[in-house]
Symmetry: C2
Subunit: 347 residues, 2 copies
Amino acid sequence: MSAGTWSEFELIARLTAGLPSREEVVVGIGDDCAVLDTGGPRLLLLTCDSQVEGVHFTLHTSSPQEVGRKALAINLSDIAAMGGEPRYALISLHIPRRCPLEVLEGLYTGLRQEAAAAQTLIIGGNVSGTGAAETLAIDITLLGESERGRVLTRAGARVGDTIFVTGYPGDSAAGLHSLLYPDHPYPPTACERLRAVHRVPRPRLAEGRLLSQLGPQIVTALIDVSDGLSGDLGHICERSGVGASIEVARLPLSAELQALAATLGRDPLAWALHGGEDYELLFTVAPGYEETVQARFAAAGAAPITPIGQITEAASGLRLRWPDGREEPLSVQSWDHFTTPGQARST
Amino acid sequence: MSAGTWSEFELIARLTAGLPSREEVVVGIGDDCAVLDTGGPRLLLLTCDSQVEGVHFTLHTSSPQEVGRKALAINLSDIAAMGGEPRYALISLHIPRRCPLEVLEGLYTGLRQEAAAAQTLIIGGNVSGTGAAETLAIDITLLGESERGRVLTRAGARVGDTIFVTGYPGDSAAGLHSLLYPDHPYPPTACERLRAVHRVPRPRLAEGRLLSQLGPQIVTALIDVSDGLSGDLGHICERSGVGASIEVARLPLSAELQALAATLGRDPLAWALHGGEDYELLFTVAPGYEETVQARFAAAGAAPITPIGQITEAASGLRLRWPDGREEPLSVQSWDHFTTPGQARST
């Protein structure tokens, strides 16, 4: 049995089963961040995530600066996904001997830019060689903070809650498609925007803070869309013990995504439902508070949000509802970086 | 210009030059840990360090369990090197597809053992594939705590201070030598102990706490010996703006190190002075407090400590003093994992 026969989530669950905890660990393994109460004025949020050359990025399709920005952005997104504020970063680089210094300097330029934009300090790190491997990798650990009673997790969704998503899921996956298959005559403007979304996602920090301020009585569950909307909705359902129904007609599809899909003769829905790396926020709102949340986002000039479905009984599982009222099971086809790159996984 | 032409320290200095900081960052980049004052009852210590297959370990010379223990132990040692208490760990694994599940389970068994021994909780992490690379890597971020005013850094050594070291430096490097060149008829008992020290170093957590309790007025500087005694003494001197003189006759050489060196016809001093990965503590004590420190260690049943020299003026640099009174410059020949594995670096 080798590692590659397991999904990332199965492997983590197996390796970390039964690990001890303590009272001060408010949220442990299994959410976007761990949450600690160390007795200070605010709770601590901790997350780590990697970007590995040939798995998560290539230097053919992204500049070193874009790779640096994205490496930090995906960690910032995990802080956003708990409603927290990012504060400090540790940067661990695995650097092949032949890696040009300019690549590392570009990478750090991107890290600095992204850190400055998020008022996050780089306070430490490590560099290591890679031996025989020629693969550049970046591991980032991020510390954030949040107020007591304001941390939002994956675990609080209840039957009847409305499911919302920020922005336009699927854009990143469509951008990646155009990078992997560059020879097609894509519509240039749409293509450039989708590629930019893929190369440097914008972590939804301000939106996460808005949701945190609304609090867990109103915003019952929150996650960022890194594995794909279906996969991340599945995480909420699993942790909350519920099911979910998505209304196809409500899924927000960007004009650029639709334009790209049209030139390829593809269904844009597949990207919106299953494409990974959007780093949009997916959240659930208690019944009766939908307009409150929408008004708050509008007043703050935050990202657009769209209600896309309802939380249902666990027994219903994940379902898609078509405009004609027809329903069908929604299968999770997450992008799993741990299995073969480029190969979607059905579970 | 490629990364491999730079040392780890030169590269970090270049990439992180001029990074912004804030008031709550008590210690930033350049010590064993970053230290944060987040307003809680204790200061937070943060460190991260990697173990990469073929660079820091091989599965031919260490079991997966030993690799797991060491990966956490070297991070625990960084907490010890500030006088802190370890609390929480994040584990990031880079896993080749073909890596057997038993290797990962062995690794995690080692991580669990070492975490339990240090009362440290594993609260999160990440797993990632490695693409085309066949190299297993483990990145660990460790959070610790310490009392305000009790954090010990590399920066406080003053002229006239006495330099101490715990345990027996050189043992790990001698153990590594016997693993890299296994065909020599080594004395079996000595060889086994030295190899065990190399495979699973014991972080000097209790000793770090003792030094922290004595406080920075008595214990003026502290570091752990990861790069080799000469290299890490060099770090203290650089950060403190001082020089140092080591008395050759006082260097504590273990019986096993001497036995191994004798069968090889080698000088055990080179290992003691320049061998890396000892994870002993190297510290400086203000004049007049040497006996206080020794008595405290003896009373606590802590590791043996040995005074090995004096802090001098910066202009003197690092020097070795022989029993006949002769002095010579001590050149730093650190083990630098970032340059070619197995090749010592002279600076």
